[in-house]
């Protein structure tokens, strides 16, 4: 049951390094930087959400403005219920680790996710377990993504810090790890630190 409520989508595109999933409900996107997982049994893949889009289901048909005579934005959706079916929300997630035989690895799995695999938001316990090691930060720094690494890393650390009892200690430890990884790029480090300080 818990798995059902945590389910946020289904894989519709996959590669070794990342996958794209579509949400079942429009706008029910997991937040930027959150940890999600999917399965390619017997391996569980962990990924971090780095991008999200909401577009028309048909690439050729762009949405048009509809609110001229409506009192509020909510009214638009209420008067045109078909909209919920004509639009779709998708998110991309960067694979940062996997679990095999109950063991957690902070590096890429042997195979990518399968199409139509369900994607779940990780539970606080899983996030805590995963964030015991900061090895995944290296993947985030070294991958070229549409969002800047500073934004993604800070968003991810902010997300993770929320489930740690001692937020400050967690963020300081992460900051120190980043300081080592970005030892020659102080400006980048500074940009991240400014974004994660409380």
């Amino acid at each position: 049951m818990a798995e059902l409520t945590n389910r946020v989508g289904e894989v519709i595109e996959a590669s070794t390094t990342d996958f794209v999933a579509q949400c079942y409900e429009l706008y029910q996107l997991p937040p930027l930087g959150s940890l999600v997982k999917t399965r390619n049994l017997p391996v569980e893949l962990y990924a971090i959400v780095y991008n999200a889009t909401t577009t028309s289901i048909e690439p050729g048909r762009r949405p048009i403005a509809r609110g001229k005579d409506e009192a509020s934005e909510e009214e638009i959706y209420r008067s045109s219920p078909q909209l919920l079916k004509l639009l779709k929300s998708e998110f991309s997630a960067l694979v940062v680790g996997h679990r095999q035989k109950d063991k957690l690895y902070h590096y890429l799995p042997p195979n990518p996710a399968r199409i139509h695999s369900f994607v779940y938001l990780c539970s606080p316990e899983e996030v805590k377990e995963f964030s015991h090691s900061f090895d995944f930060l290296n993947i985030l720094i070294n991958t070229n993504l549409p969002v800047s690494a500073e934004e993604l890393i800070s968003a991810c650390l902010r997300q993770m810090s929320q489930i740690h009892e001692d937020r400050h200690a967690f963020l300081v430890a992460a900051g120190k790890e980043l300081a080592l990884l970005l030892s020659g790029q102080f400006n980048q480090l500074k940009a991240i630190l400014v974004r994660i300080k409380q």
């Binding site: 120190k176 300081a179 080592l180 030892s183 020659g184 400006n187 500074k190």
Partner: protein, 536 residues
């Protein structure tokens, strides 16, 4: 063991056996807590190293930080970059090492011949480490103070200390005298040696006043049965309420040409005048001084003596100065040397007070005169002991102040102190020299001083002379330069396995007296118990 004592400081990042190792500080260790002179251990792969912090510096991973410094007013930012982007660097000089196997554990710490591997952990030395290296307070080890910023007792093997000559250096007011008192008590309690102290300022025998105006007890008050106070100035001693054992008087006939040679500078004698002394001594025998003073001019000179009038004049003026010294008499009634030897032979320490005669002429004359006679006696006894397998005399430690007056390059080859320093322990006589200007001491003599204890020194030349010939000189120099101006010292040389900066325990407090009185008592008790056991 307290939390702080096991504190991890960082890891070794580079090093060489000649220059020591560089240690990158962990972020948990504040660079401001690291002080030069502190004692650390390095856990290598196969062996453990003991070393001393000799330099502390700052490092950073990105040079841009110097151009655009981060906003450290933000505590989060400051906490993150401390120990990561910016970090402290320690320079550690390893001195000793101990292997992990049983054989090396029994052997104890050995001098370092290598460096620990990369990224070995560096810890602050714990009490146990200090104990492992310097030993515990016991029958032969004497507690001299605490290593800098540590509570541990630093102990010194007194037996080893008296094996070679030693020196206490430091500028005036740094605590030399107080520490020397401590050392003397140490040799007295544990060294199995007898002390002869030429006490120029009357500080070691009876009580004196500290700079804070407090009365401080000295040897005779603490160990009345083991110490005898001899005096040159009975009146001064009586006024200060000192119970003296013997009044030293020196007869004219006891003064030898060598004594005059030593006084050449102080009495402003010419070389020819010193030369003339030897001629006169040959001619007149032991009564040469009296005979010379009796002569009015060169006409009265016996035939065969070729002394110029000016020279004789110069010499007579010098001899007059000597004669004016109140403790010099035409004929001394009692033989001071025999009395001193008699006391020393019974293991009683002798403090010779100079009272009002603080004049350097008196000091040099008396110290040299007595020492050369005593030394001759010791040599004779020692040689006899070697030949006949008799018991050698008790080791003797002669304490002299203002040592550069006796051991400067010009006179060191002539004075008996130069000989003792060089010949060292062959004849069971060693020196304890106390000086505030070590640069004035002859280099050869200095290199023969086994254990050196140095308090703060200002003068670059003094520092160089004290450290001459010591390995890792530049590192020790930085430690020495950072010593506080009072009550902190660096000890290195024969009696200690490695150099260590320390703070002598506060001498003069009631607790301090109690401490060594207590250790004295327990020893007596132990001895008594042993005797009883033997009896039964």
């Amino acid at each position: 063991m307290t939390q702080e004592n096991t504190q991890r400081l960082g890891i070794v990042v580079s090093g060489s056996s000649t220059k020591g190792v560089e240690v990158k500080l962990d972020s948990s260790a504040s660079v401001e807590d690291m002080v030069v002179g502190r004692y650390v251990t390095i856990e290598g792969q196969k062996r453990r190293f003991f070393g001393m912090i000799t330099d502390v510096s700052l490092g950073m991973t990105d040079q841009k930080l110097t151009l655009t410094p981060p906003d450290v007013s933000d505590p989060f930012m400051a906490e993150v970059i401390a120990g990561t982007s910016t970090y402290g660097i320690l320079h550690v000089s390893p001195y000793l090492t101990i292997g992990g196997d049983v054989a090396s554990l029994i052997e104890g710490p050995q001098p370092v011949k290598t460096v620990p591997i990369h990224f070995s952990t560096v810890n602050l030395a714990s009490d146990q480490d200090i104990e492992l290296v310097f030993g515990k307070e016991d029958k032969e080890r004497f507690w001299i103070g605490n290593p800098l910023d540590m509570e541990t007792k630093l102990c010194l093997s007194m037996e080893k200390l008296v094996e070679r000559s030693s020196g206490v250096f430091g500028k005036s007011g740094t605590g030399k005298t107080f520490f020397t008192r401590q050392l003397l008590i140490g040799t007295l309690q544990k060294g199995k040696a007898a002390n002869l102290i030429f006490d120029m300022n009357s500080e070691y025998g009876w009580e004196s006043t500290s700079e804070q105006g407090r009365k401080v007890k000295a040897l005779k008050q603490l160990f009345p049965s083991k110490v005898a106070v001899f005096t040159l100035d009975e009146e001064s001693s009586r006024r200060r309420g000192v119970s003296t054992d013997f009044v030293v008087r020196i007869g004219y006939d006891e003064i030898e040409p060598e004594d005059m040679a030593l006084l050449r500078q102080t009495l402003n004698l010419t070389d020819l005048a010193v030369e003339a002394v030897y001629q006169l001594r040959r001619r007149f025998g032991r009564g040469w001084l009296q005979s010379t003073l009796d002569m009015k001019d060169t006409e009265e000179l016996p035939e065969g003596l070729n002394i110029h009038e000016n020279t004789l004049h110069n010499l007579r003026r010098g001899l007059e100065t000597v004669r004016r010294l109140p403790f010099i008499e035409p004929h001394a009634s009692a033989d001071a040397v025999r009395h001193i030897l008699d006391h020393l032979g019974r293991g009683i320490n002798v403090v010779l007070e100079f009272g009002r005669y603080k004049d350097i002429t008196a000091y040099i004359l008396v110290a040299n005169l007595l020492t050369s006679r005593i030394y001759a006696q010791y040599r004779e006894r020692m040689e006899r002991a070697m030949g006949e397998d008799a018991a050698p005399p008790i080791p003797l430690v002669i304490t002299i102040e203002e040592a550069h007056k006796f051991l400067n390059p010009e006179v060191a080859s002539q004075t008996i102190f130069g000989t003792i320093a060089r010949e060292m322990r062959k004849y069971n006589v060693t020196l304890l020299v106390i000086d505030q200007r070590p640069s004035g001491i002859d280099e050869e003599v200095m290199s023969q001083i086994g254990t050196k204890i140095t308090f703060a020194l200002d003068n670059e030349r003094d520092i160089d002379r004290v450290l001459a010939g010591v390995s890792g000189k530049s590192e020790l120099k930085s430690v020495l330069a950072k010593l506080a101006s009072r009550q902190q010292a660096l000890i290195f040389g024969h009696a200690v396995p490695m150099p260590v900066a320390f703070q002598p325990w506060e001498y003069g407090s009631v607790e301090s007296y109690k401490h060594f009185m207590l250790s004295e008592e327990t020893e007596i008790k132990k001895q008594a118990e042993e005797d009883i056991e033997e009896l039964w």
